[in-house]
Amino acid sequence: MTSSSSVNTSRRRFLGGSCLVVGFTLTPKGLAQAYDASNNASKSAAKTLNAFVIVAPDDTVTVLSKHIEFGQGPYTGLATLVAEEMDADWAQIRVDSAPADNELYANTMFGAQLTGGSTTMANSYTQMREAGATARTMLLAAAAIEWSVPASELTVEKGRIRHAKSGKESGFGAFAADAAKLTPPEKVTLKNSSDFVLIGENRPKVDTKVKTNGEAKFTLDLQLDNMLIATVLHPSHYGATVSSLDAKAALAIPGVVDVKAVPSGVAVYAENTYAALKGRQALNVKWNESAAETRSSEQIIDSYRAMIGKKGITATERGDISKAFSNDTSTTHEAEFVFPFLAHAPMEPLDAVLMRQRDGSIDCYAGSQFPTGDKQAISEVCQIDAGKVRIHTQLAGGSFGRRAQFNSPFMREASEVFKASGMSRPVKLFWTREDDIRGGFYRPIYVHQLKGAINADGTIDGWDQVVVGQSIRGKTDEVDETSVEGASDLPYVIENMRMVSHNTTNGVPPLWWRSVGHTHTAFTVEVFLDELLEKSGKDPIEGRLALLKNNPRESAVLRRVAQMASSAGKPAKGRVHGVAVHKSFSSYVAQIAEVSVQADGTPKVHKVWVAVDCGVAVNPNIIKAQMEGGVGYGLGAILYDEITLGEGGYIKQSNFHDYRSLRIGEMPEVIVEIIESNESPTGVGEPGVPPIGPAVANAWRRLTGKPVRRLPLVRSQLS
């Protein structure tokens, strides 16, 4: 694959120290912000420039990542693309986070700077390669002038520029300053994929070592001079507000500095974390619950059930659904599926550090997944021009969707807490695990109803699905794609098909949770289809393949995973295989889970085979890690997890003792194979999650005869 691409004409270049900076849409506004940002003392000036590639005199190449690193691998992945086209040596590559700027660092699939939808590689693949190729071209041009030789006679290998005829040789650093004075090329030619040196290799991750020896710094680890630690007491009923506050006891605790009511609760400021926690515990607060959600989870589920059969919004319809279900010779099958609220529970709970500089500008340090939204939130709450707010995106201890919030409610809370403090000292707002588990923004409750028809010759010819649940995107009278994705676009050839959606409202705010709509749609589709295939006497693999005749990529991963499982031999006695295949975020994943029943009656998942097609495999090591992690994250949730609202609407769970996480002894062996492909790369952060639930549930049904109708599986099957 060779592609020539035209570089945005609005690009600029400038010299920062003696570094070459290459960007594509550097605008005057962007430049101004870059200079503002250069007073960040924790980084050298060179590193805070608005661009993707920085070449330093010592030959190091720093790649600025517009995407947040929380384990999914963008630092390594994006740097690989730049290094490939620069012909850099991997050892000279460094990575840093880019500042918040929609013009420079927008996710090209969303038009704003954000990490989400498993789009990092998909939206950066060409952009970052062009950044690398542009830097290479400019460095060679500078070298050609210096050595008085034609640029065409120069070669680059592992970061060394060479001129064979004269024997001249140099690293990049020597030409960085001169290269930066040149006009960037209008067009760059990207490498043919057969010439890739780094792309496609199992490159070790750039952030592994510091994540092994304690050196990696997360937001919670930042300690600024004179910094206050703040915690907020939140209500036990989501949406309740403070009606009265007695802070006397809290203020009497040594180390507690102040207590302030903020829109989300009551903030306690202290000189250290323990005092902040003790102070919070000593608060005497009465809550006004009139605006809070007061229904229990069961009442919410019942109200959703009542909506099935009422007029909803048609997400998709083909063929003649009523005819398929009125055929006397057909067999029909029905099922209802219920999904609970889920918390994301990233290991590092939400946190942020805010600090006002002498010139009135504000620095914010946070695991910012929507950095420009966070910037706007700080600007609005603290009443300061957005141009005077700098976001320093930190490594984050997981997210799984939790840090990706439109309108930045968490950053608004952090800003309110900061503002209420008087903004004279830096403030670190820190959420405890209890704040996290009870903090709302859950994967919503969904109820699905499915009806299937199998005609006299055994063909599945009717599929009628209804989903009821909160619209994550706040839709009322139109379909929210995040409620129906993965079901409304059913890949199986079924002649008569309909999907209807009902948007509900709820006092507990919803949020996307790793793989979003696919967390529930994949489960309903793959479990219900498996049951229809069984009822029509068909094999789960062959039966699916027959219905996937128009979908070669789904078919290919399914065939591959079947080969993988069968080459491992027959499962041991008492173990059964369950299969699922699902496309999400433009990637295709098939999984086979090997499951048995343990002595205590609970399922044991021994092995999971995974076949994934995510286009060009930029770094197989990271793809495999994301599949392993996706299986583990999804498995913990489908087996054990639910957030439940008890009577009156209080949130029952509070920490890891009652919101279970998968533990090491429950982790299956995960075997991953990647389909070779020349298609553009697509996501891997989320697509490993959706198939694990239905694969395990299908094995469980074949093992026990009990279909899974409600998650989490362990509670619904054993209580």
Binding site: V210, K211, T212, T273, E348, Y633
Partner: protein, 167 residues
């Protein structure tokens, strides 16, 4: 005043004696490799070594470590378990165990303590010893592999030491 050894050095703490060791290490001693994850000894992110054994620092009042020896991730390589620590950290890097990395200090502390007590653990030994350490990224398969790999290098180096060769 509470006196204790931290990473091989005598140190002291003058504040509230009920303060959890975790916050003394992080807030007062500025060693932030040890993480907060739950505050109730459920996740293991705060794991340190006390006299060589694992301890959940989030639920241990500082008064309980008076006169004792605390090792954090930062002090691991210069501690009595440096051979195990080196082997574990190398294995972790070799197979890229971490994803988000937030829990990994705790994972490494637990893995090192396991290998100190049991130089050749089975999968079951690993599952038992590491059951208290949650990884939300679910890097468990690589954690298990990393411990086996580290055990392998420790065994190889022990046998070569016996033969009088340099490891």
């Amino acid at each position: 005043m509470i006196k204790f050894q931290l990473n091989g050095k005598q140190t002291e703490f003058n504040g509230d004696p009920s303060t959890p060791l975790l916050w003394v290490i992080r807030d007062e001693k500025k060693l932030t490799g040890t993480k907060y994850g739950c505050g109730i000894a459920q996740c293991g992110a705060c794991t340190v070594h006390l006299n060589g054994s694992t301890l959940r620092s989030c639920v241990t009042p500082i008064s309980e470590v008076s006169g004792k020896e605390v090792t954090t991730i930062e002090g691991l390589l210069s501690s009595k378990v440096s051979a195990e620590a080196t082997a574990v950290q190398r294995a972790w890097v070799a197979i890229d165990v971490p994803q988000c990395g937030y829990c990994q200090s705790g994972q490494v502390m637990s893995a090192v303590a396991l290998l100190k007590a049991n130089s050749n653990p089975t999968d079951q030994d690993i599952d038992n010893a590491m059951a208290g350490n949650i990884c939300r990224c679910a890097t468990y398969q690589r954690i298990r592999q990393g411990i086996h790999d580290a055990a392998g290098t420790l065994t190889a180096s022990a046998s070569s030491n016996v033969k009088g060769e340099t490891a």
